[in-house]
């Protein structure tokens, strides 16, 4: 009997056990998954919760209901991995041996890593995150009570989970205050450590224009040093100051603490991983999927989904000493809510940045790329159903794992030079 052990039962871990249970024979392979929580949260919904789109119970389901028959679930905290012994130690003293290990323990916001941010005088009073259920719930109340002043939306440091979410939050806040008839009493500022609104030039330009159109000011290259709690002001490394009445921040994101305790991560607890086949750089029987790795792709469910599709095919070959046939290209596909029941869609990979054009999709498509449309908004809302019923269970979704250029408008050399000159 061989043991496959999966650490983490979020989107990546759940998809892995579903895909692999179908591919690995029950009589020769045992599959076990460990997670400290029994509840699975639909994380994309957390962005919309502060605006009243969802109630918390619409975003939570039991993790166990997504595991197929023949998968053992252990609810426990992980103490550490010992790759020399091929063992995982749990906090409660149990030990689990493995032949192959999949690390899918994700990334989480750490407000305590920025001086002043988690100070009880401001945390969940005037400073909020929205990537946690507690944060999104608390923020809903704070937004409701907010009638005038300065709203600052802020990213601490890249990489972060779902890198477009802070921009979406900003667009949604603009539409929300407009709808309440108080937009003229609210100043909105978007503060980022990046050079512009987003990481990639074409998207950054489009999204930057959208900020401008909505009279949202952009404070770029802002690397936070600390928050002055009394003055309610963020101070940057080069001593710039941004004051706020309400701060919606994305705290520093870090991988799980057991990664650090095991000595297998980088300075942000991400595991060094091959970006094409997800094999750990160091250990030949450890794979890393989803947000837990250091691959230069978006930390997002869509990336995890495409990655797991390729990985599960590769894994069967790998354990049978055959070459891994599929090479991941960094494909990501994200809906961006822009407010007023509209949204954008971006589709990109390691080499190709998000471009304009159309995204072919059977039945409902094509969807416009990098352009606001009602269809994209519907796509975003429909995704919750797809996530619970198709994606997590490893069922077929008609979007190819590797990115396609079909429908995309390529950037000319001249355009590229113009964009660079503006940066």
């Amino acid at each position: 009997m061989k043991n496959l052990l999966v650490l983490g039962a979020g989107a990546a871990g759940t998809m892995v056990v579903n895909k692999l249970r179908k591919k690995l024979p029950n009589d020769t392979w045992e599959i076990t998954v460990v997670d400290q929580e029994t509840e699975h949260i639909y994380q994309p919904g957390l962005l919309l919760m502060p605006f009243g789109t969802y109630e918390p119970e619409q975003l939570i389901k039991k993790r166990q209901s997504f595991f197929p028959k023949g998968v053992n679930f252990i609810q426990a905290e992980i103490e550490k991995v010992d790759p020399t012994l091929n063992k995982v130690f749990l906090k409660d003293g149990r030990e689990i041996g493995y032949d192959y290990l999949v690390i899918a323990s994700g990334t989480t916001p750490r407000p305590d890593q920025t001086l002043g941010m988690s100070d009880p005088a401001i945390w969940y009073k005037s400073v909020f995150d929205f990537y946690t259920l507690a944060g999104a719930t608390a923020l809903r109340g704070a937004l409701r009570d907010f009638s005038s002043g300065r709203l600052v939306v802020h990213i601490t440091e890249m990489p972060i989970k779902c890198p477009v979410a802070p921009l979406e939050f900003t667009f949604l806040a603009d539409a929300y205050f407009e709808k309440r008839g108080i937009r003229d009493k609210v100043e909105i500022v978007f503060v980022t450590p990046l050079e512009g609104a987003f990481t990639k030039p074409v998207a950054s330009k489009h999204l930057g224009t959208m900020l401008n159109d909505r009279k949202i000011s952009l404070e770029s290259d802002f690397v936070i040093e600390h928050i002055d709690v009394e003055a309610k002001t963020m101070v940057s490394m080069d001593e710039r100051e941004v004051a706020f009445d309400l701060l919606v921040t994305v705290p520093l994101n870090m991988g799980a603490d057991f990664i650090e305790r095991s000595g297998i991560g980088d300075e942000l607890n991400y595991v060094p991983t091959n970006k094409h086949n997800f094999l750990s750089d160091e250990f030949p029987n450890i794979f890393v999927l989803g947000d837990a790795s250091n691959i230069p792709a978006s930390k997002a469910g869509s990336v995890a989904h495409f990655a797991v599709d390729l990985f599960s095919e590769n894994f069967v070959n790998y354990v049978n000493s055959r070459p891994m046939e599929h090479s991941f290209d960094g494909h990501a596909n994200c809906f961006i809510e822009s407010g007023n029941r509209k949204g954008l869609l971006i589709d990109f990979n390691y080499e190709v940045q998000p471009l304009t054009g159309r995204f072919p999709i059977p039945v409902i498509g094509p969807l416009p790329l990098l352009k606001e449309s009602y269809l994209n908004h519907i796509g975003k809302l429909a995704f919750r159903w797809i996530y619970w019923h198709i994606l997590l269970k490893g069922r077929y979704l008609p979007i190819p794992a590797l990115m396609s250029m079909a429908g995309k408008v390529q950037v000319t050399k001249k355009e590229k030079e113009r964009i660079n000159a503006n940066n």
Binding site: P159, K200, A297, K416, N420
Partner: protein, 104 residues
């Protein structure tokens, strides 16, 4: 890839002017690149640059500000003092390394 002449040598750069060939770099070239972004190199600047060059050789990619702080021992605040406004970008530019990946 375009080439430009610096300190009497032809060097290969990308569209944004970042050098693309590790071994074409030299101290002389670094001084010219630094001057282009209004930086005069002090011994402390050179310590950072040499860390970045060595680290790139080891890791195969340009160091982020955090990595330069944690592994190299150069606090981010000091990186801002030495290479004002956009330290990660300027450090890679002068050290002849690719622009660090704006992680997506």
């Amino acid at each position: 890839m375009p080439t430009i002449e610096i300190a009497g040598k032809q060097i290969t750069v990308n569209e944004e002017g970042f050098m693309t060939v590790y071994d074409e770099w030299s101290d002389e070239i670094a001084k010219v690149l630094a001057a282009q972004v209004d930086i005069e190199l002090t011994p402390r600047h050179w310590e950072v640059i040499h860390f970045l060059r060595d680290d790139f050789k080891k890791e195969g990619e340009s160091s982020t500000s955090r990595h330069t702080q944690t592994v190299g021992g150069f606090p981010i605040k000091e990186q801002f003092e030495l290479f004002p406004k956009k330290p990660a970008k300027k450090m890679s530019y002068i050290a002849g390394l690719p622009k660090p990946k704006g992680c997506v």
